[in-house]
Symmetry: C2
Subunit: 187 residues, 2 copies
Amino acid sequence: MNSLGYALLSMLVRKSCTGYELKQLLEVFWNAKHSQIYPLLSKLEEDEFVTYVHVEQTGKPDKKIYSITDKGRSLLQKWISNPPAPPVARDEFLIKAYAISLADVETGISLFQERLALYEEKLAKRKVEIGLMEKEYGEKLEDIKSNVFGRYILFKRKLLQEQEEINWCKWVLSYLEKEVKTNRIMS
Amino acid sequence: MNSLGYALLSMLVRKSCTGYELKQLLEVFWNAKHSQIYPLLSKLEEDEFVTYVHVEQTGKPDKKIYSITDKGRSLLQKWISNPPAPPVARDEFLIKAYAISLADVETGISLFQERLALYEEKLAKRKVEIGLMEKEYGEKLEDIKSNVFGRYILFKRKLLQEQEEINWCKWVLSYLEKEVKTNRIMS
DNA sequence: CATCATTATGTCAATATTTATATATAATTT
DNA sequence: AAATTATATATAAATATTGACATAATGATG
């Protein structure tokens, strides 16, 4: 089984979900398309790692609420203790940052300003999410046996990384903007 | 063309390389296998974005030194000013962190300790790399028009992110280790 | 003296992942 | 009234990526 399968199972540990809900929750890891999620859920169901109840809805299409089985839970538990695969991070922006000497300063600045804006937005949303969690769960968040602890620490990590990305963007921008000022004086 | 193609071109801007060297240099972005790099280099050569000179070697296998062409440089330049695709980060460890409530505390601790050790090693190497760059290039690193500026800022970013990962691991470990102590007192 | 790591290049089948397409309804916005 | 967005499920096609196979010389380690 691939990582996405385990990601689905880890989501279902906390709470039973439909494929649609899972797609949204999975965004904390990476953006998997529903066309990847639905077939995988079928496969997980076939292998008895999850089950579902068919819920009829009027007006909306029927939905399937998936739950993790004991077999699924023990598979996930076993998987956790194995050494994790090395992380993969593919970021086009970083390639552009690497080749920035090829671009003119204005292009470089707008590239970094947009990145900065993107991460400031991400950070703002993250703070709201964490705030809501703290309100809803309180001390439970710091209880390592609680099923929200994992979600909490993951969100905190995202927050830290987003904050650091912002710091870095500002640092790079200080170089780029210094150059613009120098040029303005000279012209 | 895919991001990896642009990554190769951005590497070749700084310096002409063999496929083998490119594989190693590319690790700053992500780990591409040579089975992806060699066919892609052939394709880039076919499309005239790169050229190569065949260099015969005694003792070692012959090699092909690839260089970027003007066509390749202008392609890359145009690509930089387009908005970058959203980053993809697939990290199995984070899924395990998310599902940590399922594991026993000892498993959780060793999971995070290994992550911590991995990133401390990465950080140490990064510091050496940056130190060498500073020694070799000095003030040139802060010149946005220098072809080492991109490499420098990328390395700095990696350093910051690695440092933050370490901080986070330590923060999580403080919770996990607190639990172990509590259990020890109770038993 | 044998085995392993490193340098160096390449192909190909099997997976993994993304994108496009399809169907259907409700609620909201223009 | 029409268009858009959100909910809900699913398959087919296209790309991207990995892992295994293949070759070959040198130097280092056991």
